[in-house]
Amino acid sequence: MTPLLDVKDVQAGYGDMRVLHGLSLHIGAEESIGLFGPNGHGKTTLLKTISSLVRPTAGSITFDGIDITGRKPPAIVEAGLIHAPQGNTLFGNMRIAETLELAAFSKRASNGAQKRLDEVYALFPRLAERKTQLAKTLSGGERQMLSIGCALMCAPRLLMLDEPTLGLSPRLKEELGAAIGEISKSGVPLIVVEQDIEFLLSHRPAISGGAWRRRARDRPRERARP
């Protein structure tokens, strides 16, 4: 079976500084993976390279059998490969409802946007209570919810979450963990970047639709099943 996402020998970085030195990774249509590693080792850079905010200097990225290397970000979103960025403040001067409606921007996502909006509000009732609140006035946890909600509005076929629980209290972490589990159960494959390995492992049963692979940073290509 061809993998849903296939990253092959990708090199990328910023200016002269290379961060990814030939990284490969693949994920099947039925599985979810967690990525973890020390700060500054290029996890965010990897996700940015996949979503084309950073252009790879070598290697190839294939999504659903189509080569998307170097395509523009909108084309990648249109294909259903969605990236919820790290520490995201989204659009500070937009209201929650406005942001979520706008997030269904691509042609793909505009079909069934209303239904997905209802689903997002059901998943995060806090967002439903604050529809007219400006994003910049939201708490850290609510921002993460909005960020994930936006990603869901894009109608993801593969969803990449970059540290969705960064800086949240244990209770909120639980809440978000449960929501992420729900998303996974609904059949969306996930790539979750997380510092907190315990968190990932504790949600393993919920997240793992199929195999749950653990993968360290780029160079050590060890792959262990927990």
Binding site: P73, V77, L90, F105, S106
Partner: protein, 287 residues
């Protein structure tokens, strides 16, 4: 009483002009983070194109205004592509584009001089006749401007608030990467913002072309005023820019009455400096 009303009306006319000019400048600023110094020159080009289509070709003033608006919009797209887009990634984008858009101003002004020559030109009014407002006679053309400005501003505001494309422009202005990650084509959004802004400048020029003379340098004073308005308004929303535009229009009209035409620009700048000392984020900006 009569002078007061006359001054109010003249302030309203000036305010409408400044609002049209400044809203375009502000749109580019909030979307791209760039100050377009060629905005005044685009206004001038719009006026000349309108004159060519209306008078030289003889298609009439309405066709002239439409052509001036669209022509300036197209030139705006070219300017964005040639002298703004190459510097998106530059750390000094604001400074570099200040220089490049100033260069464009010089090119457009010299170009207009070469194409249209030094003779003063004027457009016929869009509508003939006079209208009485608060007991003052103003030309029907100015009255049209008074009505058109708020209508256009409200349409622009509705566009940015309610439409998908308009919202995406605001999104790009607030967070480019996040906008790209929901599928917005950021360069396209920049080009669109620039085109709308340039078209507004062209429209202003075409409307102004039958109130003042059309000359290659006609854009520089309105550009200065629009900059004052945008900074006065707090470099922010369309609403505060429009509010500041009318406020400056009234202030200018009263300054002309009190200190005379000669000292008005000086007094206006002095006032702006005072306001910025007291309220660094503009008159409607948050402290």
């Amino acid at each position: 009483m009569d002078t007061l009303l006359a001054t109010l009306v003249s302030g309203l006319v000036l305010g409408s002009l400044y609002a049209l000019m400044a809203s375009g400048l502000s749109l580019v600023w909030t979307t791209l983070g760039v100050f377009n110094f060629a905005h005044g020159a685009l206004m001038m080009v719009g006026a000349f194109i309108a004159w060519t289509v209306s008078e030289a070709v003889g298609a009439g003033p309405v066709a002239g205004v439409v052509a001036g608006t669209l022509g300036a919009g197209l030139i705006g797209i070219v300017i964005e592509r040639l002298v703004i887009r190459p510097f998106y990634a530059s750390r000094n984008m604001l400074l570099v584009t200040a220089m490049t858009t100033l260069a464009v101003t010089i090119i457009l002004e010299r170009g207009a001089q070469m194409i249209w020559g030094p003779r003063l030109k004027q457009l016929p009014p869009l509508v003939d006749g006079e209208i009485r407002l608060f007991g003052n006679a103003i030309s029907a053309h100015e009255a049209l401007l008074l009505v058109a400005a708020p209508v256009i501003l409200i349409a622009l505001w509705r566009f940015t608030v309610s439409s998908k494309i308009g919202r995406s422009l605001r999104a790009v202005g607030q967070n480019q990467d996040s906008a790209a990650l929901i599928g917005v084509d950021v360069p396209k959004a920049f080009a669109l913002a620039f085109a709308i802004s340039a078209a507004l400048a062209g429209l202003t020029g075409a409307l102004l072309g039958s109130i003042r003379f059309i000359t290659p340098a006609m854009g520089s004073e309105p550009l200065t005023k629009a900059m004052i308005v945008v900074i006065f308004g707090g470099l922010g929303s369309l609403g505060s820019t429009a509010g500041a535009a009318y406020l400056i229009g009234f202030i200018e009209a009263f300054l002309v009455l009190w200190v005379g035409l000669y000292w008005t620009p000086f007094a206006l700048f002095l006032l702006m400096i005072l306001v910025l000392l007291l309220r660094p984020n503009g008159i409607f900006g948050k402290r």
